[in-house]
């Protein structure tokens, strides 16, 4: 990184990749200059990850060439070889970290870069890493075990790993998904600094706001094709959103809430069983009819516990969970479903559907023992099919029909299936856990519309989300989770992202200020 001429670092030319009949990438070209931050924006399934996997050598393209800057200008990168990509200076930070949890940050950074026998010579490596840290601002305690680092620190280790290998191009796949807004801002500062030193950055995301904030240039992908390329400084939010979905997205509007009686109440609820990311400490709040409550928080701060309790998968270790004023003593999802609680699971592919069973089976699964779908132990296939058919029509579930296996559905259609399953019963309490994670803009708007419609019908809704934009779009009232405690941040009006961000980071001063 000596002087910084504005020269090309990377060029992808007419990359095409097919999976059977599906064209994942269709003649996509892109170039990256030294010192540039390029955002790769697109809905899920638009081909972002496929393109980056080709660049990184995980996939072999059917057509097209990848060129990376080498000694003699741009040189063709042999396809299908991650080793060659690494050697050419392409570094990738995956969404799910690839770190050895029980080793130190230093060991993780050096891992795989040195021959087995020279592993003893740590001092030279340490000097090099410390220099990178000083230049970039990626401060991390190199000697702590990775398991003891925060998510933000782990991400910094991942970036250091790439830089230590002399990456000229750094690819970040949805890097802010796991960060608080403040941590994300910190990351952006680092990225700008790295870019100023000559690094080329490709930033993959589906969040418009942050893409506009960080990038110099935006490449929008849609359905495997390049939908447009814009300069960030002059780009407009709506124009990008339209490029992503290919049609104008109707803004979801909502009337002010008219909160009614409390339908579900947490009264000093503590939860200790299960994984630690579930545990809760003396949590109290109410879900009222006709109101959407947004639960913000960095993932792993107790949201899983709240979700488990509302879903009927757990009961409080202490305190009481009241449904319609009556305490719940048994973890029984079926009883809750029968009582009018609708539950959308956080991981819809894993917890929401049985992939090898049919769409009809998956729509009936929660109520298979109810008279609607069975009589004295025998399934009523006719009723199940009829229900599935109406759900497919009403919720626009794209599938081959009621008998299609659920695993063949895309993420958005799985979520529509779950919406159809839980909303068709006109539930009184709704838990929407990460309701639009991984969904494209069009499907997101659809899910939001359905949730708001349910609220207007008088349902009490809790939305748990890591996407603050989504929470601000939906919530009438905010709760913030931090280390198993829940702070009531009050009505959404008058709250802004930074206030919520401070609460997410556990700043009690802000909490005290709000409580008054």
């Amino acid at each position: 990184m000596t002087d910084i001429p504005a020269s090309a670092l990377l060029s992808l030319e007419n990359i095409t990749k097919r999976f059977g009949p599906l064209v994942a990438n269709d003649g996509i070209s892109l170039s990256l200059q030294r010192g540039e931050i390029l955002a790769l924006l697109g809905e899920n399934g638009a081909g972002k990850t496929t393109l980056m996997n080709i660049l990184f050598g995980h996939y072999v393209q059917d057509e097209g060439v990848v060129r990376v800057a080498g000694k003699n200008g741009l040189e063709t990168l042999p396809s299908g070889s991650p080793g060659a990509a690494l050697a050419a200076g392409v570094g990738m930070v995956h969404q799910h970290f690839t770190l050895a949890e029980n080793l130190s940050g230093l060991a993780n950074i050096r891992l795989g870069t040195e021959a087995l026998l020279s592993l003893g010579r740590a001092s030279a490596a340490r000097r090099k890493i410390e220099q990178i840290i000083a230049e970039s601002g990626l401060t991390v305690d190199l000697d702590r075990r990775v398991a003891d680092l925060t998510v933000g620190e782990k991400q910094r280790v991942e970036i250091l790993k790439a830089l230590y290998r002399d990456a000229k191009v750094l690819i970040l796949d949805e890097p802010t998904a796991v960060l608080t807004p403040q941590e994300a801002d910190g990351l952006f500062v680092v990225l700008r600094r790295l870019a100023a030193n000559g690094l080329g950055v490709i930033f993959i995301s589906h969040k418009l706001g942050e893409v506009l904030a960080i990038s110099n240039r935006i490449l929008v992908l849609r359905a495997g094709r390049k939908a447009g390329e814009l300069v960030s400084a002059t780009a407009d939010r709506r124009a990008i959103a339209d490029l992503m979905v290919g049609k104008a997205v109707a803004e979801v509007t909502r009337a002010p809430a008219k909160p009614g009686a409390a339908l579900m109440a947490f009264d000093k609820v503590s939860l200790r069983q299960g994984a630690s990311r579930q545990s809760l400490r003396k949590v109290s709040f109410e879900l009222r009819a006709g109101e959407i409550v947004g639960l913000a928080g960095v993932s792993g701060n107790g949201q899983a516990g709240i979700a488990a309790l509302i879903s009927g998968l757990a009961v409080p270790s202490e305190g009481e969970l009241l449904l319609y004023g009556k305490p719940i003593h048994r973890a029984d999802p079926r009883a809750l479903v029968a009582a009018g609680v609708a539950r959308m699971p956080e991981d819809r592919q894993h917890d929401g559907v049985v992939g090898t069973m049919s769409v009809a089976d998956n729509i009936a699964i929660e109520e298979v023992r109810s008279p609607a779908f069975s009589r004295s132990g025998w399934l009523d296939r006719k009723a199940m099919r009829a229900r599935a058919q109406s759900a497919i029509a009403a919720y626009d579930v794209r599938c081959l029909g009621p008998d299609a296996e659920a695993r063949l559905l895309s993420g958005g259609n799985v979520q529509k299936l779950i919406l159809a399953r839980v909303l068709e019963r006109e539930p009184r309490v709704i838990l929407a856990n990460q309701p639009t994670r991984g969904l494209d803009v069009g499907a997101q708007a659809e899910v939001h519309r359905r949730i708001i419609a349910a609220r207007d019908r008088g349902a009490a809704v809790m939305v748990i989300s890591e996407d603050l934009d989504e929470l601000f779009a939906l919530s009438d009232r905010f709760l913030v989770a931090h280390e198993g405690e829940i702070t009531d941040a009050g009505p959404a009006e008058g709250l802004d992202r930074s206030t919520i961000g401070l609460l997410m980071a556990g700043h009690s001063a802000a909490a005290e200020g709000l409580a008054s």
């Binding site: 072999v60 009927g312 809750l336 699971p345 069973m357 025998w378 296996e405 063949l408």
Partner: protein, 356 residues
Amino acid sequence: MSFRLEMRENASVGLRLGVSLGAGIVALLLVAIPVLFAGGSPLTAYGLMVQGAFGSMFALSETLNRATPLILTGLAAAVAFRAKLWNIGAEGQLYIGALAAVLVGSGLLQMPPALLIPTVMIAGFLAGGMMMVIPTLIKQRFGADEVVITLLLNFIVILFVQMLVEGPLKDPLAMGWPQSVPLLAEAKLPKLLPRLRMHWGLITGVVAAIVLWVMVRKTVLGFEIRAVGENKAAARFAGIPVDKTMLKVALISGGLAGLAGVGEVAGVKGYLSADLSPGFGYSGIVVAMLAGLSPIGTVIAAIFIAAVFVGADSMSRATGISNYVADLVVALSLLCVLVGSFFLRFRLRYDRKLEA
């Protein structure tokens, strides 16, 4: 140029059938090699095997007699494996079922056959079922692996039965042979045809297969078993009682293996001994895998495996080629099915690599 594996979206019924059939055929082809080494002609050997298994009414009866316990242990494995409950203990459950039949049917109860036979069968079913319910409970309570528990229990049960037939249950009239007191005539399963060993256990097996087939497709319990087997997390989230469903599966699975034991004592031997089963419980796993865990397929696969054993015995008497050939065929069919099921999930693609 290279070969590449690609995930299949869907495996058709024809393909599934093809894999099972293909596995059997490939196994027979592979076993032709050792037959050649033994100095025999594979064609003659297999011809004799077919004749030995199906060539006469007597041969057919022997094959079906042999298939009877295999159908039941095969169903035991199939129903459990569907729910991802790895019951490797059908052998032990068979012996416990046989033991229960002897305890109930050798004089404890005096009833006419119409009552005693069902009683003996229910006793065998429940005893075998408990032998699977208990390991399942231990798995649920303590997280112990059911493969290890059920596998090891097989040896414990057989030693226990050995102790009983040499001790408290020993038949004083058996001239010192280690065998139990005989069943009452009223407890014995009637023969299907005079002078042939085929008995009503065969009908029990076929009926059990049909009942299971209907259960999986048409009943809420079958729905729940499928959901639990295919995705435990989603089943739990949807409110299906996962542990309870697993216990029901365990009872059915162990019970079916127990019925196999009842069939062997009440239908064939008339008494219990420690050599009642030449590994019917283990062969049941092969049967279920060959059948792709389909109940109806299990009946067919059981008859195939039984024919291999019976045919090999007869072939061995005629040619002098060892009847170990049968074990080879069975073991190789299992391996071939495992390889074949890989191709149910993936397809092999011939790939020309791009020039860089």
